[in-house]
Amino acid sequence: MQLLINALIAGSLAALLASGLSLVYGILRVFNLALGQTVLIGGYVAWWLFDGMHLPMLVTILGGIGAGALVSWLTYDVFVKPFYRRHPHLTLVTTIALGMMLDALILLVFEERPRSIQLTWGRTLEFGGMIIGVPQLFLVITTLVLLCLFAFLLHSTAFGRRIRAVAQQDTAAMSLGVDAPSLHRLILIMSGVLAACGGIFIAIDQNLSPTLAFPLTIKAYAAVTAGGMGNVWGTILCAYLIALLEQLVVGVHWFGAFYVPAGFQATVPLLFIIIFLLFKPTGLFLRASRAA
């Protein structure tokens, strides 16, 4: 049971990062490889406001989110928009370039040492033998609320209808009067906001260090790929699923005989995905693959 809680914590983080990414891929067909850096900048700015400026938590969070939004706005207008119409793969190069620049910027501004946000209400709750820290509980719940908001936005608002229309048939949507390019910008900014939330999550739950960026991007893309490229709900489900697998791999006493060495925690679930994709290359959740 404790493993479920562990998976919920790890999965929430992965879901935050991957959902926005999946939306971006589903609609723009663009891989944003600077995602990890966006996450870090969101987290670092929040840390700075909290630890350096001693501002209240809410302001810090908003500041971090603002920073993430700003970075992704820049990502869209400078590194994506001029290129992706010519060939979506061009953005692979431009976003890697952006990622490297942001890496340098992070080192310059926030230095190499790890940073974290230390909440004062760092108590733990115990119920039925399961233990969860209050900050972690807060993070898991906030993530679920955010994802529900995200679902509501996507499925029950005019804005969401527009996004889905562009995802499914952008030419048709445009000839109905939907301004696809500015919608693309909004989508990228939305993914930046989710990424920044992920960064704040990391700052509270673990700690931020500059080398985290690329592994984060890779992990998010694992969920995006397994969930069926561009299928947001598949991606979110896979993020939680991968996290659960990771916890099960090392946490379960397999067949009552042995534990899988902890070094395989990340590899086994990815291996599982690879094997799965061999048999079903469209991803776990093919059916509504273009549903956005």
Binding site: A158, R161, R162, R164, A165, Q168, Q169, T171, A172, A173, M174, S175, L176, G177, V178, D179, A180, P181, A288, R290, A291, A292
Partner: protein, 244 residues
Amino acid sequence: MSILSLSGISLILNGQQILQSVSFDVAEGEVVGLIGPNGSGKTTLFNVLSGFLKPTGGSITLRGKDITGLSPARRARLGIGRVFQNFGIFRDMTLEENVLVALEALPKEQRRSLGNLCAVVASTLAMVGLSDSAKKKAGSLSGGQMRLLEIARTLKSGKELFLLDEPTAGVSPKLTQQVADLIVELKREGKTILIIEHDLPFISRICDRVIVLDIGEVVLEGKPGEVKKQKKLQEIYFGADPTS
């Protein structure tokens, strides 16, 4: 007064001349058929008109306003509606949502003048007999039903100028008549229509004028009856029976 006016539109794509100084006017309420063999540039011309391709030269005016540099979305808001050859339907959205998206994309004043959007959605679906499927995914419709939905959606979202790209392609014979009726209905409502179609009898029946395109150029223009008699039309279709 002409609603749409093209002067000297040319397009070069990847070093190839796709359109060559295409010029013509379309009068308000007129129905113009655009015919020509495959690859003659008809759909490309539609793409230029709806803004997906920027012409290499020439200009387009809509009601006297130059729209050559405007984005597809801006043009749509100015009243150009497009019906796609391979269905401009959002398959993973419900029929209701398909219509709703079109209505919500309208400029504010126009949207307000429609009143209750849900009522408009309902009447749009009723118009093409799809009320029962309102909550279904559009992907479950037949080709003919998709086309009907698309045309009805374009009509109800207040478009003035219709670009219909082979509206009967991929439509079962049973529904072809219904599509044709809907287009006639558009005409009766005084909408201006540009239509690409291979079905010449259908063209002769509803069009006021026919423009023949070949290798990106306007080669013939006139009333359907006159154009049909021209030998050149036969030559362009390379012996293919134009009445089939």
